[in-house]
């Protein structure tokens, strides 16, 4: 369980997050949606302890970061490190023995190639595989479906279901609403650093319609396409 109380974060004069109060329970999958710059990644970094903040983040896991698998929007890779070595590095960091990596390579990644030569989707899959092999208790997946092919998309959705079944806490952000409605129990709408809405599964369709209405409005008509 992760509980956030009165979390605020400023970057100079810019208020990135304002008075966030959320609780993430075990065995649940949570979605965070919002426009670009709404504060999703900042919120994730605060939970992970990669950013300083005002307020409180509590968890049964102490320290939370040692039990947290964090998938960044754009995972960073060294220029001359192979996929296999990347997994080894992240498992070493958490003191996790890793054997038979090839058997666990569910995305069929070319593990002996330099990870920096991978495509965007392959990088995402490698970073995801590494945090899964770390055997974490909580997961923050920032845009896990970004650039990923349709087959892997299906695998990732199933993986999230599996993590839920294993009683893990999973927090996802995605700009593809269908992936969130397939996986999440609750979705939080983040706008200009504030949680403006909390929606349960039964109301996902209404939320999607509302978001479409709000986001698109009559913008496309303005182009006068013929």
């Amino acid at each position: 369980m992760i509980s956030i109380h009165n979390l605020s974060k400023n970057f100079g004069n810019i208020q990135a997050l304002e008075n966030i109060n959320i609780q993430f329970d075990k065995g649940n999958v949570y979605g965070i949606v919002g426009e670009n710059g709404a504060g999703k990644t900042t919120l994730f970094k605060c939970i992970a302890g990669l950013e300083n903040y005002d307020g409180q983040i509590n968890s049964e896991f102490k320290p939370l970061k040692n039990y947290l698998g964090l998938l960044l929007t754009e995972p960073f890779f060294f220029s001359k490190i192979t996929g296999r070595e990347y997994i080894q590095l992240l498992c070493n960091a958490r003191k996790k023995e890793i054997t038979k990596i090839d058997d666990k390579n569910i995305f069929d990644l070319p593990l002996n190639q330099y990870a920096s030569t991978y495509s965007t989707g392959m990088k995402k899959k490698l970073a995801l595989l590494a945090i899964l092999l770390q055997k974490n208790q909580c997961f923050i997946l920032d845009e896990p479906f970004n650039g990923v092919d349709i087959h892997s998309n299906i695998i990732i959705v199933d993986l999230i279901h599996k993590l839920k079944a294993l009683n893990k806490t999973v927090i996802i952000s995605s700009h593809i609403f269908s992936t969130l409605s397939d996986t999440c129990d609750e979705i939080f709408l983040l706008k200009e650093g504030k949680i403006v809405k909390k929606v349960f599964r039964e109301n996902f369709n209404a939320l999607e319609l509302e978001m479409r209405e709000f986001t698109i409005g009559n913008k496309i008509e303005k182009l006068e396409l013929k």
């Binding site: 992970a48 302890g49 990669l50 300083n52 320290p63 970061k65 040692n66 964090l70 960044l72 995972p75 960073f76 060294f78 220029s79 001359k80 490190i81 192979t82 296999r84 070595e85 990347y86 080894q88 590095l89 992240l90 070493n92 960091a93 958490r94 003191k95 002996n112 190639q113 330099y114 920096s116 030569t117």
Partner: protein, 313 residues
């Protein structure tokens, strides 16, 4: 070679970028002082190489070409091709290569090494016509794959230095020149030290479930073990054929001490790169080892632990 306005702007921009990098956010005078210091270190090292080995002119040409080749990186050159016309691009590339090689050319002329000067100028101009990939699909095997990343990445970036260093050690035995053997050992240590110059992305420090002290100890342990692997062929070879075991031991010990300092300096500047201040401290450690080491090691160790606390809570 006539420079048009666009090319002049390009070189002006390069100069500004270099000075910004050197001054590192401090007053521009810091940049000029550091440039002067780099020049002095360059002259000092050049003197040292020419004093220590008869192969110095060839080594010197090789080092110069190594730096020049860095400008041939494919993405950089693609960008330049987009910005400049074909002829301008060629002129610009030859000119910037010659600027990089200039200090080496001047020193070779000072040493009256006329043939190496011609060879260096010709090869430097020739390299301007090459573009080199920095990412290859061929994976260079490394013995350090079990514990990424410094030695894994570093070894792949500098693997060619080891046959050269080991070659020097063999030549040292053949020509009975102990100093050349020591030079090969120093070369290995200097290469290893470069592995710790760049900071890693914060994510890779954050990922560790270690305390800051444990994290640093692990880094130093790995550095010691893997540098032992790389130095031992030279150490063993020199131990068999020369009797100056004490000097070899002392140099190896110093190598480990500097490695420790560099690890501490890296993380005392973290998450930033080692800046002007840290570079000056490092140079001072080379110039005045004993008094500096006594102060710098504990100070930078404490600073590193404090810096890492932010990421390893």
């Amino acid at each position: 070679m006539k420079l048009d306005k666009k090319m002049k702007e390009y070189f002006k921009l390069q100069y500004t970028m270099t000075m910004r990098k050197l001054s590192d956010g401090y007053h521009p005078i810091v940049g000029y002082l550091l440039a002067l210091l780099i020049l002095l270190v360059f002259v000092g090292l050049s003197m040292f190489i020419f004093h220590k080995t008869t192969f110095a002119p060839y080594t010197y040409v090789f080092i110069s070409l190594y730096f020049t080749s860095k400008l041939s990186e494919i993405r950089r050159n693609d960008f330049l091709k987009i910005c400049f016309g074909n002829e301008e691009y060629r002129k610009l590339r030859i000119l910037e290569n010659l600027i990089v090689a200039l200090p080496f050319v001047i020193f070779l002329i000072y040493k009256q090494q006329i043939y190496p000067v011609f060879a260096l100028i010709a090869l430097t101009a020739l390299i301007a016509f090459l573009t080199l990939k920095t990412t290859y699909s061929i994976t260079i095997p490394t013995p350090f794959y079990k514990k990424p990343f410094e030695f894994t990445v570093g070894f792949r970036n500098s693997f060619f230095m080891f046959p050269i260093a080991y070659g020097f050690a063999i030549i040292a035995v053949v020509v009975d020149n102990f100093n050349l053997g020591m030079f090969s050992l120093i070369l290995v240590f200097l290469t290893i030290l470069t592995y710790y110059l760049k900071p890693e992305n914060e994510y890779f420090v954050w990922s560790y479930s270690f305390t800051p002290a444990k994290f640093l100890i692990e880094k130093i342990k790995t550095a010691f073990l893997f540098s032992f692997y790389l130095c031992s062929p030279i150490f063993i070879l020199l131990s068999i054929f020369f009797e100056n075991f004490g000097i070899m031991f002392l140099f190896t010990l110093l190598g480990y001490v500097y490695l420790t300092i560099l690890v501490f300096l890296k993380y005392s500047a973290y998450p930033n790169e080692i800046g002007v201040l840290h570079s000056l401290i490092l140079v001072a450690c080379f110039l005045f080892p004993l008094p500096m080491l006594v102060v710098v090691i504990p100070f930078s160790a404490v600073k590193s632990v404090n810096n890492l606390k932010e990421f390893l809570k």
